[in-house]
Symmetry: C2
Subunit: 598 residues, 2 copies
């Protein structure tokens, strides 16, 4: 089975030419991110991902995580790989130097994390959840909590989890029932309740697991304003930092899932005995608010899983299509040829490649905006970048993951009958990808956030600013030479218009018919993703054209970039006007039926 190979050329192109790595490296605190160092980091990460993580991906899927008597065993090789991961400093890469990290910007950690995810998504979920817990503690933890937990978690010797969901409370966290009872003695609470879908809630990779748990204190108000956040370590930590008694937190089972089999999804019970000891993070009743602050990072990271699985699925399908001999070339000749020569296989591979590159480009550009927010001294740039990132994060999350599913499914299709056989490996990517549109907020939740909080609430101000920037790119395309750029311009112009009309309709309609607006939320998210992904591909084509003209760069890569951008325009941006019609004129049909008519 072929291993994942990091697409360094495309990553570096996007970092340098589209996401402005040079500018990010000028920001205070990001000075280490020179192009040379970044390339070294990515090369090293590529080797680790190909050599260590990727070979464990399929065996890990087949073996799966195993539960027995409350303990969870990860698949063979995961412990060793995790040790190498920690020793290599990968877990700490993007955390502040003063906390033991390497202080590299998000724009650099983004391709790094894409590689882990592509090589072994199940493995990558462990650090992903740790990062969420670290951020919660960095953000709202007491000094003592930071001292006790952060160094080990940043190093990776302890991992973290996020405990939100309960059987009756999934998308709707207002329904959370877990209780936190303050104790008259000491600074802690006793936590009682059941949490489900807890990624890496129990495992054998780390010495300790630091659970962050949402629960209600006895007199908390109902609903979302009565939820507090607690830190609940698997093993209590002594004053000297050594591990103490086992806490009353237990993994009672793990789920039997469609995919990510190597990632244990735990059912956690807190307080089977006297109550799990938990420490309040921040203030009481503000837990959900803290979660929402962290949510952006987690959603971005899951969006990146879509990019990563697209890339992995593309690589496998491409390799198969080059090797598999079947049927004659339509252009003539008697011999059977490799199937990459057949137009429909080409179309599938181009779809996979174009969508992978478009979702990657948009994600990296958003990562750069987040770096600007965190590091820039220019207040206006910070505000602009924050608004842009807020608008785009539900799109990176929702669109990249929906696309990842489509791409993984196309990957199976390229393989024909072999794609349906598990040993081929292509099916795993679809199974793994299928969770990404669900966890950290379903695509519907992302889309509601996009149309409600990010468009309607501010009257579409940020979206309109983005449209202005896109129009400038469209004008540049108009000045450039060549059929490909002209074709891209045509589709891009139509997509911008359709997007702008839809934004106007959302703003105009939200007050009078909110259900009509939300009925079109997911199509609008898709439209936004295609338009903004197409925008990045159009920028890429302009850069490629200019570099070719100047005789710079790798001509084969640059020409492919232009062709791929054109393919994206003709095959995806061409959908945008139709999506506008279905949103703006199609809401009637969505809500027309009574419940009984279904």
């Amino acid at each position: 089975m072929s291993e994942y190979v990091a697409p360094l050329k495309d990553m570096m192109f996007v970092l340098n030419e589209l996401a402005g790595l040079g500018e990010i490296a000028k920001l205070p605190g990001c000075e280490d991110a020179t192009p040379d160092l970044v390339e070294q980091v990515l090369e090293e990460c590529g080797r680790f991902s190909s050599g260590v993580l990727s070979p464990l991906n399929w065996p890990g899927d087949q073996e799966g995580a195993q539960w027995k008597d409350g303990a969870v065993t990860t698949p063979k090789g995961f412990q060793q790989a995790y040790r190498q991961f920690v020793e290599g400093g990968w877990n700490a890469l993007h955390f502040p130097v003063e906390l033991g990290g390497q202080g590299l910007p998000k724009l650099v950690s983004t391709p790094v994390q894409e590689m882990w995810k592509a090589a072994n998504m199940s493995f990558s979920l462990c650090p992903l959840l740790t990062f969420g817990a670290i951020e919660a503690l960095m953000l709202r933890g007491t000094d003592e909590q930071k001292t006790v937990y952060l160094p080990k978690m940043i190093e990776g010797t302890w991992t973290g989890t996020m405990n939100l969901t309960e059987p009756q409370a999934g998308s709707d966290l207002a329904l959370i029932k877990s209780r936190a009872v303050p104790q008259s003695q000491g600074d802690h609470y006793r936590i009682f309740g059941q949490k489900i879908f807890i990624t890496y809630g129990e495992h054998d990779l780390a010495e300790n697991i630091i659970h962050l748990v949402l629960a209600r204190t006895p007199d908390a108000p109902e609903g979302v304003k009565g939820i507090s956040l607690f830190v609940v370590p698997k093993f209590l930590v002594n004053k000297d930092g050594s591990l103490g008694a086992r806490n009353d937190a237990k993994c009672v089972s793990i789920e039997h899932k469609l995919g990510i089999h190597a990632s244990p999804t735990a059912v956690m019970v807190y307080g089977e005995k006297d109550g799990a000891i938990g420490y309040l993070v921040g203030e009481e009743n503000r837990g959900l608010e803290y979660m929402f602050i962290m949510m952006n990072a987690a959603r971005f990271a899951v969006g990146l899983e879509g990019v990563a699985l697209s890339e992995r699925a593309y690589q496998r399908a491409r390799d198969f299509a080059k090797e598999r001999i079947q049927s004659r070339d339509l252009g003539g000749g008697r011999a059977s040829v490799s199937i990459i020569n057949h137009p429909d296989v080409r179309r599938m591979l181009m779809s996979m490649k174009a969508q992978t590159e478009a979702t990657r480009a948009l994600a990296y550009v958003v990562a750069a905006a987040l770096d600007t927010v965190h590091h820039s001294a220019d207040k206006e740039a910070v505000a602009r970048s924050q608004a842009f990132a807020d608008l785009m994060i539900p799109v990176v999350k929702g669109w990249s993951t929906e696309t990842g599913i489509d791409v993984a499914s196309l990957g199976i299709q390229v393989h024909g009958g072999m794609g349906f056989i598990e040993e081929t490996g292509a099916a795993q990517y679809l199974r793994d990808a299928r969770i990404t549109t669900i966890y950290e907020g379903t695509t519907g939740i992302q889309a509601n956030d996009l149309v409600g909080r990010k468009i309607a609430r501010e009257g579409g101000v940020t979206a309109k600013a983005v449209i202005k920037v896109m129009e400038a790119v469209e004008a540049e395309l108009g000045k450039a030479a060549g059929d490909d750029l002209a074709a891209i311009r045509k589709r891009f112009a139509a997509a911008i218009d359709a997007f702008a009309e839809t934004v106007d309709w959302i703003v105009a309609t939200n007050g009078s018919d909110i259900k009509a607006v939300y009925a079109g939320a997911v199509p609008f998210l898709k439209m936004t993703g295609i338009t903004c992904g197409g925008w990045q591909m159009a920028r890429a084509a302009l850069v490629a054209e200019a570099q070719l003209k100047a005789g710079k760069g790798d001509a084969g890569f640059l020409k492919a970039k232009i062709s791929t951008a054109r393919f994206f325009a003709d095959h995806f941006m061409s959908q945008v006007p139709g999506i506008r019609d279905s949103i703006v004129q199609g809401a009637t049909g969505v809500m027309a039926l009574s419940e009984a008519q279904f």
Copy 2:
């Protein structure tokens, strides 16, 4: 877990109002298919499917078929269910009375088979393959072969298989290597070779398995014109009809697949010892031709799997959405409501419902055309129906199955996190559906057949005749009252235009740039499915409107049909102009890259 319930109301509506059951029942040999009898048959089949097949679906998936020492054990309950299936006469339903069948038309066996497939796709594959083998023998078998094999196979006590694929020969059957050596003694050949992906190639449901095997005789020409068809029984049959010696045909393993776990997919080895005894069917070197004649039935049947899995996925998602309480209604109120009230869940359910009904309607209309072909004395009607069915079968196969995957995936999404948990059952439908776009010819193969043999070769004559009929429906919509029908008309008119333009482009371009045409083949197949499915939904809306006006029928059902047709128009037919653009103007990007640039 909720069981499948046959959608009898929609099935009867489509049979009577769209597919013309009344007309079919007037054809010679179809007189038994009165509306009353058909309704009884469907009700009885619905009970069997819900009560016997459906409860075995999920346990069968979890247990899977098991291989040991050449024998295959089907999951618990399958043997008993298969006995009931045979005793109920279901296997024989659509075969001629003189061969022991019940002589019901295809239009009736179509909803019957849809039910089996929806209730338990893995189970339904056993009779599906038997039917293919029966048709081959009915078509080209000698009288002796017919006498020996057909009665038992039609009854169902013996099953059949189709052995085409070899490791190096999938879509490209020219590469088949299996050998058939004529014997100086007797009327048989000795067969040697390995066949893969043989559905129900070995199992424990029947007394005997009748393999139909493609192989080459010693002096056969190379390529597809040197392939012959043989009947190779698992147990040889004595003169008196009793079972004789075990043939030299062995199942050496079964595949570990993404889905249809209960359906054994066998690797068959013929001739491990002296060669399997096989009897020539028809003439030497014409095997592939015979396969192609049968292919239409098999492709239609797989298309119907798409419809069936869509229905099943829809039912489960709908039931879940009505029960699951989560989040407040956007329209106001403090209490959490069932998620069917949320616009995005509605949109997903409407997408599932609309696509299921559209694919069903088109499939049944094609079934009626096939009945006309087989039974009508009106030569012109036969020719017209044959041309229509030939055009539509790749569409029913390709579009319904691609749609089935999308619908099954949406079904998971409606369930949120629960959808990813195998015990919920929603994931199985996606896993099962994923094979349907691959076997019996991938979507790419269907699409090549559509643009090449069905459009380009005849200059688009049949497609243009279909366009005329669709235009008449569009004109009728123009005369009807109401916003919904006006909205449907608008989208339908645009879709017809885009479809017609694309047909013209294919006809005009095929000679000069065949790769450009084939690069758009799958998008064209999708466009054809949406337009022709939309045509049937438009017809359904017209019928519903007329019945409502006349005060006939179930008003709730009829109003839902109109709303669903409108939803289909606004959300799917609205895509057709964009697809035209990507086909007609987007071919350049498909073939632009060199192999090295991927």
